[in-house]
Symmetry: C2
Subunit: 497 residues, 2 copies
């Protein structure tokens, strides 16, 4: 999940200075419009030590009009607060309509601290998170725009930051500096994943922000707030739940960014990975031999397997699937393909056709495209309403959780290629008679929306890359490499308990 | 909670026969309109042994057109079903658009059984319920109208039924008849309360139906289904979450009922209860003396108390509050009154002003009207949108849970009088110079909506009468009796741990 915030996203000083005046004017305009909108904004800022939550808030103050902006830190509760139900201190700090309230940590602060220090068990952690989901849901329906930001740092950056850290009055961690230990970081990330996964909803989503570079961090948060305000005001006349939070433009930056700030998880993939023909042949037959045995083992153990293939057009899904199944007994696996829903399928809830096709114990089902269509093609092409694809992340997580709880092993592949490689393959398809059926006008149209798809993939990996069902990103510019990466992952998966 | 289904609601044979033709024609019309609506209907029927779930379904079949109607019982899972995630069997039985699916028990069946037989602990019960809430939410947003009926019987009726029962292939309970023991009933009711409270949402509400009389039971379920269908179809063009399920007409019967079928929890109150002046005086000073001491005890123990007064206009709330506070030290309690929200209050979420006023540890706060305004006056007068008051039940339960978890003792009183008594009091107010300020045109207008308020109170008691915060219904035709009942309950409450 956090890989989506370890991309080295930065904004150079001159680019930042070019952006800043326009951003500030947008912020002030949005803030002015907010005043009579009947809406209020609640910004919750949580994240790692060293990620600069305080500096971020100070920058927001310098950009917004500080009138109509109030920040609450929720350090030690006062006796007034201790003598009332826990949530009272947050209610008394709630922003009125027309204003923006910033909660540093908010109701997540104590939860994170207690969970990291193991003062609360998983059961009670989950229960509490669920209560906050319902609380935020009520606020959203009562005209509060809830925006949650989680600031994240790669390990090395955090280490440097913490060794130079100023002490702040935030005493949630121990004073002896034990929170600087790598073990602590690991625990913090585990807790963060659990909290984000369970409290990330369409009405009050988490925005994961890489905080390595202060300029990038601040601009991203400010732009997200502005965009949410504009979206909501465009929809005014009652904030219906079906409106969702950020509409279609949730990812696309409102201001032109420089390239380094646009990195996604896909940029982490080394597209130069190559495999020689001989290596490929050797590894291929090696893995296929092993998978043949492992597939029978799974059958004997009555463990089912679900494999999801997603990727760019012409990324080589079909070829990878053929190499995966080549070694397996045809009685053990089935391949399910999904296009636009049929007439019959349209008469059921969205997930119905995927539920229908789930394999029996011991069998393998390969999904050539899947339920992720909703947050990819349906999102980008506008086939699904904003609120419908925004709520789909959570629904998909629940669906996959139900699978893994039953004992199903689940693999999810995204096959990544560069736009240049795609172009070359499209042209080859057009020129090769027996491949011509594989290329359509639609493929060319999709290609024009490369950036939108790339952002949708990034958000998908963040919101559905769960600990029980992570994504595997495949370097597929070299077909041989892609196939072996897929086989290697499958071999590992089928050996797991 | 179940007191709302132990009212002796019946429908005589001749009244039933007069209703039936019109009801059937409404059902067929609604079913026909459903066909092309893009909606489907999922009816979940759960409830007590002996409540006639099977007979109900058979009657629905005789009334509806059986084409487009499918019933699923979910007895022992097949091996096909066992070899897939648990919910698979329900997904394969999902009704397509245009049709009605009836699930006997549905996903609640195993949950009830496991909980009653203590094969699942509270933590896992709650977690599973929460998953079903999210599942039903997704279905509702994917155009499935989810209607859940819980059939209930008073203890004596159930005993009679079970002693004559035919055996059915439903083997969820043991065959030795241990489920007929009173201990079993108690357990079943506890589990039912827990499940209903947690899975009762605006999008998939539970309807509690008294099953003592088969005619009443069947007509009520059929009417509820018809009403839901009509409401939804009136709102078509996309089932937005904000539409809620049943709109404003959720309680008012579509067909004229006879009086016995209209009983509410208020009819269980003995309005003839009276107290002589001398008894009253003695008890009054007795209780006031005790409460004086108990209020100081609570202060020393640092336990806060919240007292909610709701009731009919002129039911005597003010007088009861004065008698309650008379004995107490004025430093320990405060009375908060609520009218229409002020300008400032309107700038915050609905519950904000009540959160704001919560007492510190050791203090007593008396709410003269309260957050229940949303499901009473705001509902009946149309000040709140349907979806807003429908979701309020759940939000109120969460709010009160947060209070009691902090250790606050909570009392909720409904002061009940007859319409005749109210009329007499209104007249007296008009005629008594120093009482004239207490009677307004609004009071007379509210009075005209007596039946709607009565139904709203009934639903409020069902949906917010939780085990941690039950309602106390007060017989208030006699003011002396009302005051002593209030004081007696307060004395008991303040002695509780």
């Amino acid at each position: 999940m956090f890989q989506a915030a370890e991309l080295g996203r930065t904004l150079k000083k001159d680019a930042f200075e070019k952006l800043e005046p326009e951003l500030r004017s947008q912020m002030l305009k949005a803030q002015l419009a907010l005043r009579d909108s009947g809406l209020s904004v609640l910004v919750i800022i949580e994240g790692m030590d060293g990620s600069g939550r305080g500096s971020l808030v100070n920058r927001l103050y310098s950009w917004f009009d500080p009138r109509g902006l109030e920040t609450h830190t929720f350090w030690d509760p006062s006796d007034e607060e201790r003598e009332r139900p826990y949530l009272w201190r947050f209610w008394r700090a709630m922003p009125p309509t027309g204003e923006i309230g910033i909660f540093l940590g908010g109701w997540y602060r104590d939860l994170v601290t207690d969970a990291v220090h193991e003062r609360i068990d998983h059961v009670n952690l989950d229960r509490r998170i669920q209560e906050y989901v319902e609380l935020e849901r009520m606020l959203a329906l009562d005209n509060v725009i809830v925006l949650k930001f989680w600031l994240h740092l790669p390990a090395d950056v955090q280490r440097d930051r913490l060794s130079n850290e100023d002490s702040t009055p935030d005493d949630r961690w121990d004073k002896k500096g034990r929170h600087k230990a790598p073990k602590f970081r690991k625990r913090f990330i585990e807790v963060g994943e659990r909290i984000i996964r369970q409290s990330d909803t369409a009405l009050s989503p988490w925005f994961l922000v890489e905080a390595t570079d202060a300029r990038y961090r601040d601009v991203t948060v400010a732009q997200t707030i502005v965009r949410a305000l504009n979206e909501h005001q465009a929809k005014m006349g009652g904030f219906a739940e079906s409106a969702g939070v950020m509409g279609d433009s949730r990812q696309a930056p409102a201001l032109p960014y420089e390239q380094s700030a646009m990195r996604t998880v896909l940029d982490q993939i080394d597209l130069d990975a190559k495999l020689s023909k001989s290596d490929y042949k050797k590894q291929l037959s090696d893995y296929q031999e092993k998978l043949k045995v492992l597939a029978w083992d799974a059958w004997r153990e009555r463990r089912a397997t679900v494999v999801v293939f997603e990727g760019w057009d012409a990324a080589g899904k079909g070829g990878a699937i053929r190499r995966l199944t080549a070694g397996m007994d045809a009685r053990l696996y089935r391949i399910a393909q999904y296009g636009a829903p049929t007439d019959v399928e349209q008469r059921y809830p969205y997930l119905w056709r995927f539920w229908r096709d789930l394999p029996r114990d011991g069998r393998i089902l390969i999904f050539d495209r899947s339920w992720y269509g909703r947050v990819l093609v349906e999102r980008v092409e506008g086939f699904a309403a904003d609120y419908d694809w925004q709520r789909a992340y959570r629904e998909i997580n629940a669906f996959e959780h139900e699978m893994t709880r039953h004992g199903i092993r689940l693999a999810k592949f995204w096959l990544h290629i560069s736009p240049e490689e795609q172009l070359a393959r499209f042209k080859e398809r057009e020129e090769t008679p027996y491949k011509q059926h594989k290329i359509t006008d639609e493929d060319w149209r999709n290609r024009e929306k490369w950036d939108q798809y790339r952002d949708a993939v990034n958000e998908m990996v963040f919101r559905t890359g769960t600990e029980y069902s992570p994504w595997t990103l495949i370097s597929a510019n070299d077909k041989r490499n892609a196939r072996i990466e897929v086989l290697a992952h499958m071999e590992k998966l089928l050996r797991e308990d």
